[in-house]
Symmetry: D2
Subunit: 290 residues, 4 copies
């Protein structure tokens, strides 16, 4: 990877602002477009048009790249710009990195011989993002519970990346953590780091033993029956992306406190999230030999 | 200690409400007075007068027991009651446990041959309270910082009970934690658990290396000079009781974010705080042979 | 899975002895054969012939099942027995669980319509076995090094199951641990739990910074060039299975202390290893509906 | 403290050898005497007489300074030398640091106006030494037990410096650790870091629930009655200095494996132990204004 690159950051939220600053701090020449309300530091050159983008070593689009109707996702800008407009400003062979790339975007890039890579599809970014997600869950639990995390009985549903990051952090703070999962290997993994384990099948039978339930499984695991088995005052935090794992209307009807916490990385730690994206883009560029 | 006692909880805040519930859950016969807005659970008998208090095995007063002007500290009550009134309702030889007992309260109790003990002066309560204090500091840091605790460079000033609880928890969440203290033994203790150490004397020289500074020393350690040495965006959390360790007006003038977080246990975890007081009172009663 | 089963444990080392005891402690009727020198507890029935094995709900063969020449692996027995002899004593449809099953064994079982499953191929067993492997590495390091693990600079090569278990345990004891791996996702995983990371490519450049190098990669990563870059007194522990990752003759020539630690689970914790095999066999039986 | 000092290290074991090397590595001019079999590195000047010692900024005696009969403790030397001989070689006002200073040694020093300080009496050294002591206990447990530390049920008797270092390290490796202590504050401290607690009074009643008992209390806590309450196969490690806490003859009669592990720091980690002594001596010299 080249030491000094010309990089354009186009559209996005505070993560992209922080990403542009992090790239500039690394010594790259960084231009931003459609991010004007984000007020990036002085090292980032705020551009009014896409004119110079055709000279960029790398163009970075937001996460997700497209908002509704195929428009560039640019909540920090008044300008309204389409993906086509961005791609049309580039040359064949240029490298574009974007998050949650759609088939439509891939097609647009292919037509123009642009190399489009999805940083959000990279495992290293998913692993990194699990950290602020887990920290966000801890923050919510601290804000909502009237007991300490120390000694709190926590059940984590699912033991993938987010489940692991969450369970280990609650345990590190002294909570008594159990993990419920379907796969024997996941249960063995949880046991090997000293966590309790429960078979996810018989959920209802032992749900009453917990002060906090954190779901990471993107499937309806906590329906009315399960929610009514919770002890009084138990808090439910759902970290699973759509459709989520909790029947929130049943929770409301039963008086169960349930919080659906989506997209935590950008909310609780935009600076770290921007750095994770930067690191992932560096990896992509190294692989592409830029 | 007797298995079933008659206990009166008189005055106080949510911790006393939760304390009364915890005592009731343990099978004791619990009466509350001057706590009516706290809405304790059904097991606690809300009394309208102090008439029956003379039969109590133990009477529990709040933390602190007295508000301004020697009045009973009872923010959850409309009644206005003095310590004298409470003590006058008791018999010689009865046991009263209170928090932050003043010489005046001790004299009042002595005149009436009442056994008055200060639970807040007990080391086990101070140790227990360090946990919600540390958790409160973590919650504040999570709310205020735009980076994750993981990887955050944290400096903890002082390494007593609160300093130890705070430093170890930040480290458990992956922060890079250093401790600054004056005593060689404290520095050795911090090193023996893998923390970095700094001599507190030369504070200014290396303060710039931290994203978060948590003070636990109840003396002015962060004056204008030190505060101006902090890196931009550094957060300061002061956990020290009055007079605190931070020059907050200098911080305001310098644009340094500084938060004075007092009395965290009762705020962030009233239920746990109530239990700690209960456990401490049990220890006192065991020692008294009640 | 049935609550009370008839189980035969045939051949093997101390792990099989401990496995048979663990099964007996769970209430099963357990028979052992070709394990006589292991002196299992009184609950295990030591058999002199395979006559009754045809009635077993499950037959358990060792890890590996076969020694040289296709003979049953039975170091704790004077009897010499072949796999064929064992299979011939069984009926069609019976369930046999064995470790490191060869194609030859699979064929023998298939000819007899015996259901043969390999417990060593199961991920949950590999995960569980990583724990005693990591603990064995710690024990070796403690025995060999004249410094404490606390503060020791440890490099872990590879970040699979064993690498993760090893790195996290050294870090938990206060070592300064870095991980070298090839995949970006592995490096991100190591960073997300607070470990240092190094790109495995440029090994030689920073090998000199470590007091201990633990290899888990089953490929020659530490050749003469790398070994000569180590600092004086650095210890090398190789946990990788054959062919291992260290050039041991180069190490000897260079005077580098290098230990090839193979098959640690059975050596350092035979009782735990037996239990892991038991748990894995239960999982297999549950899936088979036994 | 001066950057370059003239230091004499006189007598002692491998810790003193490593101490002399560590001092030399820091740039001081280091002389050794009565340590000749220790073969310190080339930076340390091995002296044949005490002639030059009167010019030293600091003279370091071993731990303990005296062997039987008031002779200098010098197991790595053939020379036989008394404390008097050492002190007679010095001038009034010189600084001597020694371990476990006796009243006799203090008197000898006072007669000659020599400033004698006891580094072993310093709290920072006791805290530092708790680390290799705890690591030694872990090593012994790993060597002796046939189960993993992960999941092992460990009871730590006493919660002072060594108890804390030991309990936290076993817990960090995934053991289920309980602490038994007499003081409520110690129990609260153990609870505040997530350990289980037991009242040390009723020891016999729940001793049967542990796989490993580590004693740190220097008083007979494990007599015949307690030892006979242990479960079969339970290991006992006694870390308490003389008279120790275990009735070893009763243990032998009962067939209980009990190990008295004394002076672990010098045995398991002489290099680290030497560094701890160096750091403590630096602290002493700083306080003396040398």
């Amino acid at each position: 990877m080249k030491d000094r690159m010309d990089i354009w950051v186009i559209g996005g939220d505070m993560r992209q602002v922080k990403l542009s600053e992090a790239l500039s701090d690394d010594g790259h020449s960084v231009h931003s477009f459609a991010l004007e309300k984000g007020q990036a530091g002085s090292g980032v050159r705020q551009e009014e048009s896409l004119a110079g983008a055709s000279l960029a070593d790398c163009v970075i689009l937001p996460l997700p790249a497209e908002g509704e109707g195929g428009v560039l996702n640019a909540p920090l800008s008044d300008s309204r710009c389409t993906l086509e407009m961005v791609f049309d400003a580039l040359q064949p062979g240029q490298v574009v990195c974007a998050g949650k790339v759609t088939p439509r975007a891939l097609a647009l890039a292919a037509e123009r011989s642009i190399t489009l890579r999805d940083y959000f599809a990279r495992e290293e970014l998913a692993i990194a993002n699990a950290v602020p997600t887990a920290e966000g869950a801890i923050q919510l639990a601290m804000e909502e519970l009237s007991i300490t995390i120390q000694g709190c009985r926590v059940l984590v549903l699912g033991y993938g990346r987010v489940g692991q990051a969450t369970a280990s952090r609650f345990a590190a703070l002294g909570a008594k953590v159990s993990v419920a999962a379907r796969k024997y290997a996941d249960l063995a993994r949880a046991e090997s780091v000293g966590l309790g384990v429960e078979q996810i099948g018989a959920l209802r039978e032992w749900l009453c033993g917990y002060d906090l339930v954190v779901n990471t499984v993107p499937a309806r695991v906590l329906g009315e029956e399960e929610l009514s088995a919770l002890r009084e005052g138990c808090l439910v935090i759902d970290l699973a992306s759509r459709p989520g794992g909790v029947d929130f209307s049943a929770a409301a009807a039963l008086g169960v406190r349930a919080i659906w916490a989506l997209s935590l990385p950008g909310k609780v730690a935009p600076v770290s999230s921007g750095r994770y994206i930067r690191d992932t883009i560096y990896n992509i560029l190294r692989e592409l030999g830029v």
